[in-house]
Symmetry: C2
Subunit: 200 residues, 2 copies
């Protein structure tokens, strides 16, 4: 019997998955949550064997949740379920010791099956990603990430400097460095590249 906890912020999918998985005789759904913080609380309360979690959730992301579980409740098996085939996400997930990484365009029929294989001790990585896993690691350091995120949201160098208590020139330097590391032509392109790789 798989004692499962579900974390997914898209209510419709959360509900649909809940009902679907409950139909499986060997899965017991202990609880569900629509954001990271209540997921963490729910897991503490219910002590499930396995957690199936989205990545992008309000409050606490699925990756942060996985990292926390690795520290605090390492016996809980974490399975990530996400839309995004971003190498950086997968890498970070694996480093957090997750047992599975599935994409939301997996056929619905295969989901319960994947969970069973994971329960047996297998590690299940979506084939689309298995390859791209270890070819590219994040070249950006903390500052560069931080600044690129802000730049991507439309702030100018001066604004960014303000927020981070840095001189405008310094911001320019970091951004320039990021642009060149990512082999982009300007901040916008750099932002897109980094985001699509899951490096932000």
């Amino acid at each position: 019997m798989i004692r499962l906890f579900l974390a997914e912020d898209q209510t419709l999918l959360l509900g649909a998955l809940a009902r679907l998985l409950q139909l499986e005789p060997d899965i017991e759904l202990l609880g569900q949550a629509a954001d990271g913080h209540s997921a963490r609380q729910g897991i503490l309360d219910q002590q499930p064997d396995m957690v199936l979690s989205d990545i992008e959730m309000p409050g606490l992301t699925g990756l942060e949740l996985a990292e926390w579980l690795q520290q605090e409740q390492p016996q809980v098996k974490v399975v990530i379920l996400t839309t995004f085939a971003r190498p950086g996400y997968l890498r970070r997930a694996l480093e957090a010791g997750v047992r599975g990484y599935l994409l939301k365009d997996t056929p619905a029929g295969q989901l319960a099956d994947a969970l069973r294989r994971i329960q047996r001790g297998e590690r299940v990585i979506d084939p689309e990603l298995a390859l791209t896993a270890f070819d590219s690691k994040n070249p950006l350091n903390g500052r560069e990430r931080q600044i690129l995120r802000l730049a991507g949201s439309g702030l100018g160098n001066a604004d960014i400097g303000q927020q981070l208590h840095l001189a405008e020139g310094t911001v320019r330097n970091y951004l320039s460095e990021a642009i060149s590391k990512l082999d982009a032509g300007n901040r916008i392109e750099a932002y897109r590249i980094a985001r699509d790789q899951g490096w932000l």
Copy 2:
């Protein structure tokens, strides 16, 4: 009996919804598709009463599908199901005569119910959006949209001009106009604003 066709590109959700709705005694699922073109073909083949469709799909978007149905098969009731609470999307959907506009974070239990109300002739708009519907119309013209999209993808003025066979200065003019219409500080901010409103 509701004779339903489902179009949704996220396979997992498509499958989950299909199974869920099939459990309803008064819903008959005639078919499903994971992209716009096969949805159109499926609808032609199956002649459903109602289509439940995502917006962002490969090939043909749900909005384009709705517009096409309005022309070609106006007796088919269209219901949009999307993640995005963008006023521009809703506006366009309404202009295409859709009967319902639901968000993917509707509770799963309410979905079948909403479909039934629509079948009876009601129009169901997600309450979160019902208000914002007619307060803001897209201030951008075709050129501005086009150029803003390209700018948002990281191209510079020169590249954009190249692609569109326009002088660089002209591109700058359009972009400047768009920035001021959207009350933004630069192209990035303008892009975000427009995208979030569903104006691209």
